[in-house]
Symmetry: C3
Subunit: 667 residues, 3 copies
């Protein structure tokens, strides 16, 4: 067990620079009361600490750091590079980004730089150098927080062409990869390549006539920002080789391939902002993804203690909700609980975003009390949390290349969304309290007994072989419609769908029907059970597979909708349509049985039950996210709840948002 932090970091974004000096002491007093031990500073201060091209001024920042050191804080040190100073855009307009519509932006907002701007890069490097030289030795600087929520694409051509030249080497390769013979798009010179935007290949939304170009563009843009990140990280490490460096991610954010990014951070950190109606299983999935991208505990860098400002309907978190949500994060891998933000700002677009200290300015608020309660509870968990891990025997594949490819392709169904599909499968395991790892396509599948690969539309090099090897050695694979269709360049595998997965699945998919939203079909199982299906229906021919369920309507009524193929020591399930929950559960039950997967506990319950493991035992998190009280599973009766230090009684009812944390030593 490798501990990144000695204790749970508890705190959040702190901008005393926005406040008069007299407030600072009051902050310190209140934070102490709330058990806060960490502050994230200097995230948006570039204009303040570099007021002009020639001048750097750290005087206020020095005061902030001094105070925090005096109070023994863990400082998460921002680099301030995600919002350009106005003077820079004024003097060097090229630092601003160009949007999908082809409009070059002016100063404003944040995430507003062209990542490939040499001017931007030069001043980023200069600023970070000065910061790390000035503050890098400070022992309170626990972690460097590079930039903020990287994003904001820039549609400028030059760097894209360089990236492509590096990737493809020759124009012949590029013409082939993008199939530019189609519509006579063949290019004969690198500088004939234009951006896939509204002025060139744009279809609707941000789709284009060549998904292959759009996918490469998004790889390029993810890489471009990653280079920005690495520039900052390397600058920090040059002076502080031991520094812990991160940047805050955003869960299922489409723009960046976080599996690739995770390789470059010392610890993953992320910002969790569910909406009022986001399912709890979705939150859990995001946490598992953020744990999965690096296979280690992460920092919950941001969440709101109460409400947001930027959603359509910014509902309050109910009493206990923030606490339960925080423990859920921890249950799925968080080593820190941090808020945006510690004191609510007075103006600007986030002034209605919740904070630990509300505009009222004192601690007599519900929100502060809840923050303080949690802060004091967390102290009891320091010995268990930092560094404890979670292993699972089920892996669900999540892959940004597939995310992009599936959503940029033209046809067959406009409502097909990548994350929704992944979530539909995840939800099953969530409800069963079966531990899951979210995994990349290049993971070592043999760590798992069951691999779930929904809409694995793009099969990159080596993936089919690895999956075959996994199943042959006894693994169980679940895949299905819109899988095995294209290669890394979005060119179709011509062997008959599902392409390289065909022998593994033991089926040939002849056609893919698309159903309009008002249309349905049905999957009928051999035992007579029937349930709805929709959106897409593969028309399947059994090759070596057996039929699990059939369609009941349309001209393919009676043909297989779900199949199972024994392959080597294992088996592959192929689900040819978007099943209703009931049908999907039935199929996944079979797969779980085949793979001999067990839930965390063998009692059925509507409680969320998850765990992390230390070197000596397993820490269980039991949380009720349901409106109705739920009974404590009998396994936990007689055990001690770490939060309240009480022995749990048999038949105990957990109310909504109740949390129990139980440590059980390994036998």
């Amino acid at each position: 067990m490798k501990q990144t932090f000695k204790k749970i970091l508890y705190g959040g974004d702190y901008n005393p620079n926005q406040w008069p000096r007299e407030i600072w002491d009051e902050d310190m007093r209140m934070f102490q009361k709330a058990g806060i031990n960490s502050a994230t500073i200097n995230v948006f201060s570039w204009a303040k600490i570099q007021p002009s091209e020639e001048v750097y001024n750290f005087s206020e920042l020095n005061q902030i750091v001094s105070m925090l050191c005096r109070e023994n804080y863990n400082i998460v040190f921002g680099t301030s590079t995600s919002a350009l100073p106005a003077w820079m855009v004024k003097r060097y307009p090229e630092v601003a980004r160009t949007d999908y519509e082809g409009r070059h932006h002016k100063f404003g907002q944040r995430h507003n730089a062209c990542p490939n701007s040499p001017v931007y890069q030069k001043y980023v490097k200069e600023l970070v150098t000065r910061l790390v030289k000035h503050y890098g030795d400070n022992e309170h600087v626990t972690c460097w927080h590079v930039n903020n929520e990287y994003g904001g694409e820039c549609y400028c051509e030059k760097a894209f062409r360089v990236w492509l030249r590096k990737k493809y080497g020759t124009l012949a390769n590029l013409n082939k990869a993008w199939n530019l013979e189609f519509w006579g798009h063949t290019v004969y010179s690198w500088d004939e390549i234009v951006l896939p935007n509204a002025l060139s290949e744009g279809l609707e939304d941000d789709r284009t006539a060549f998904a292959g170009i759009s996918i490469d563009y998004h790889r390029f843009m993810s890489d471009s920002m990653l280079e920005n990140y690495k520039l900052e990280r390397d600058t920090i490490k040059q002076y502080q080789p031991e520094a812990l460096v991160t940047t805050n991610m955003m869960g299922t954010y489409k723009g960046l391939d976080y599996f690739k990014w995770a390789k470059e951070v010392d610890i993953v950190s992320w910002d969790n902002y569910p909406s009022y109606n986001t399912p709890w299983s979705y939150n859990a999935m995001c946490h598992d993804l953020m744990r999965g991208v690096k296979k280690m505990p992460f920092m919950l860098m941001e969440q709101t203690p109460s409400q947001q400002n930027w959603q359509p309907y910014n509902s309050l978190k109910k009493p206990g909700q923030m606490r339960a949500q925080s423990y859920q994060a921890m249950a799925h891998g968080a080593d820190t609980i941090q808020f945006f933000q510690l004191r609510r700002s007075v103006g600007g677009c986030e002034k209605f975003h919740g904070a630990v200290i509300e505009h009222a300015g004192h601690e007599n608020t519900r929100v502060f009390r809840e923050v303080a309660q949690l802060g004091n509870e967390l102290k009891k968990l320091n010995g268990y949390i930092p560094g404890s891990v979670k292993e699972a025997k089920v892996g669900i594949i999540f892959d940004w290349d597939n995310y992009w490819a599936l959503e940029y392709t033209s046809g067959p169904h406009k409502d097909l969304k990548y994350v929704e599909q992944i979530h539909q499968y995840y939800e099953y395991f969530y409800k069963k309290n079966i531990a899951v790892n979210i995994i990349p396509t290049d993971d070592n599948f043999e760590q798992y007994d069951l691999v779930i690969a929904p809409v694995l539309y793009m099969i990159k090099e080596g993936v089919a072989d690895a999956l075959e090897k996994f199943v042959r050695r006894g693994g169980t694979l679940v895949t299905g419609f819109m899988s095995g269709l294209v290669d890394q360049s979005d060119n179709v595998y011509l062997s008959g769908y599902p392409g390289p997965l065909r022998s593994l699945a033991g089926v040939w998919v002849e056609e893919i029907d698309a159903l309009a939203p008002e249309q349905k079909n049905t999957v009928a199982f051999k035992d007579g059970m029937k349930a709805g299906c929709r959106m897409l229906c593969d028309i399947i021919h059994l090759e070596s597979a057996e039929m699990i369920a059939e369609y009941t309507s349309d001209f393919y009524s009676g043909t297989p909708s779900v199949t199972r193929n024994p392959f080597g020591e294992g088996q592959t399930y192929y689900i040819g349509t978007v099943c209703d929950e009931e049908a999907l559960s039935k199929i996944l039950n079979m797969a779980v049985t085949d793979a001999k997967i067990s839930p965390v506990i063998d009692t059925e319950t509507q409680l969320e039950i998850t765990y992390r493991e230390t070197d000596t035992g397993r820490l269980h998190f039991v949380i009720n996210f349901k409106d109705e009280p739920q009974e404590l599973p009998p396994q936990f009766a007689g055990e001690r709840d770490l939060i309240n230090d009480e022995v749990l009684k048999e038949g105990l009812q957990l109310k909504k948002y109740d949390v129990k944390i139980i440590f059980i030593k390994f036998a």
Copy 2:
């Protein structure tokens, strides 16, 4: 009683220049038959009267004016400056405006000038000078109609920076006002400031990351156009100091602060274009607003005699509807009834817009007959209407700064619309036939017994003090959610919500919950009455206030939703949520009782009953806007209806759109 006009002006926009000469005489014949005594001319003739930069040609205009003088018309004289001539845009492209998307426009449409263009201003001044020198002495020129429906924002930076410099003096002030420390937006030079548009701070719709900048931009744009107006007005007055000058406003139009504008016009005029489903109370509110901005009678400059062309569904006005609508305008303060337009145009986008003379070209039309009937009726009211006034003891605050601020802020609820909220309160008084003044935030509140201040989000300097003084001396104030939150720069008051209104309301609002459209709560009164509420729910702590109603759901069930606070000799009601009509009525009934407010008559009725007062008596307008017949209130039985010169019988049933006008002398 100050009379602007000697008699009621009856007429409208008249464009004989669009027609061959032989039609003109026919126009005169028909208008005479319809009782028309006024024509608005030269509204869109710039290209005609100045065919090139060097040439002015008033020959056709002279003919029009001569004819109208001969026929003894009151001429409302347009200045033609709201649509640029094509030659000017061609020669000086900079006169055209730049839109929110950053696109510089070409020639086309109307309201197409950059108000800050020196070229535009130069030619405006030159044109108006020539017009006033040429026609200013003409005794038939009753009124100058400057430009037309000012609007059409221009996003150009230079003038904005000048305006800001004048307002803020120093960059330090500006940085503080806009809280530019947030997201590191501090500016160090005036020319670092960019426009709050899609290329800079844009979020979605026309919101930006800094509501403070957007609010200032709209103040600036309103001021810029007001300067345009003043340039024209001053030019007119230079030659004709006694001239009556106006420009036509548009009710609740968001772009211009009409309270500020009203100070600069000699008489307010406005254009009333309700949709097929606009509530009659909304029309009434607009009239009261247009009367309120200058506290004097106004001109109804435009309405359609039958239908519009630019709405999605341009329904006909039913028989009697135009007449009833005209009397409603008069009842709320109109001294004139004018149409757009007198003759329906043959081409261009308004050819399907109704007119007094339809395309058929003769008077044998329903529309003409109704216009003629009204024209002849109005003659009987000349002795009562022009200059008669209306006083009310209820003031409802309407404020453009709040309009902008509430709708440009980010959070908490995207569906919150300023005018809808004001209308919800107005409607109560409308249905009760209680006279209302729509008032600005800097009015002398002590003229009123009851002041209604819904969503008074921004409390500008002096407003809280004035309201406190008003209540302390015995006034009753109604305010509520989203009030008292920010100062003039959209920075939050930190004393605890509702900020400067806290002691007045006797409550502390700890949190503001936002409910999605499918969510509801309930307000429950002490007497057991319950009704729905929605959208926003303040979580309220009583300080000196008493609870009037409580919530019944969610974690704040049982806490106050509506309160009443005795303060000095008066009291403040605080309504913490968007109440259904039933609940709002109940609360406002209490406030009306506290304030000892009486309706126009003390009989309950579904008729609209309003009044104006001359020096000698009160003129009552009784109108039925309901589908079902309504009985004449007994108070009016035996009185004489001025329109038909008949004594009204007891039990008389007024059918839909029936109107009775009764003058009762002061006792």
Copy 3:
């Protein structure tokens, strides 16, 4: 009977250039099996055959042509000019088009050229010259396919001004035509004219403040592309005067006036891509339109054998559906059945678009089997189809000027759509199996007994006279609301609605009411039958007409909604509102009776029954598009079905998509 083709062309778009050479032989083998005898090549190959400004390279194309000749194919030879090569846009950016938003495009997509670019025209001419010189003598080249699906407007000013100068001669004419006196838009120089786009006159969608300008712009754009087409055609004819030249149209596509285009093609060809829920009557109408624009059989240039990729929901064609749809095309005038495409592409945005050879690459697919079945059936029809014609006594007017004018005008109802209205009338005849010609406004109406002229909003020169003459001599005319309103420039006829149709219809329409979607009225016939009506309600005064039905609600209850006017030997029906199907059927029944129109057979049936005629007899197509089986009408019992060469039994039930083709010799 003039035969364009000796046999039915069966084939489609073929792009072997996208495939390795070894696939080509396999293609030939499979196509032969499917009865395919035709290939459309070189549609999108510009970049391939002209890799740079100086170099042309036909080597691969030569190989393709050689192979097809060897296999005795009919070659439909594309000219490749609808997608610019990247190098051309790079070197001459002005060849790219500028969109409605005013954005000049970069390389990308297709239909991406400015049709008025001299550079584009120069290289088009050069390319076509080389192609025709190289391949024109080849006897297998059956037809030249110019460009592809012309479209893609360019908003550039220069050419528009030239076009206008040619049309109007003087600015005085233009100012008058566009009524530029309105809003002071008078222009004094040709170069003051700007494009009607988002930067100038734009209102919403692509409407502008001057419909007259927008209509002229669309005429201009249609003409501009037609000039492009003619440039290619003339180049071909210069070297091959006997060549057959076409370009593929798109049914009711709004952008191009296909009646004008049809005059310039040797044969009409078109691409039929219905959606999953397009009514079959709509398909039939499109075919009749495409037959009507040139009054001769056409080529069905493209359809998909199975599914599309670019619709929201790309459903599969059910078994038999493609075949039935192909026969429907033929029944309405197709002499060819061609697919897009013959082999499904591997990448690019159409990779999910169906093809004869699917990605699986072999013939063991449902789609291939259905294509092969049809291909082999068609061989039996070669003696009947090519050149056989269809005559009808009912003409329905379709007119692009009206299409544009009705949809670009402002008011009275935003939901009014031209094609929907035409289809509503067409559907009646479709369901009755009454043959219809779709006709232009300048047709010789006296060929028909019944002319249907819905929403004949714009009455161009001569049209009213021609209609009067037609009715006077005994014809029956059906017209109605939104007819007779404006002249060719969108200026209103001032004689009273319906303008030049007033005496013909015998009514004066005083007003046009617009109903919101939630509002309805009713048409009540004398026999007591009532049915709903909506959207628009004309308020009608009878002049010489009699009332057929009246309204039952609103203030015009009891006034005529439908009228019939005897005029000369004939009569005119005027339908003043958008009737529900039931009412419209009743009215059209009367008109059909008046005009003595008979259906194809006099049995009522839900089968689609249509015919074409050879010199010796009538070929009947009997198709069941209903879900339920339908009985063969008794008239056909005992006749021989050409497809199966079987005598049809009495009482035969046709299942969904069953087709019977029966030839009956003239008596």
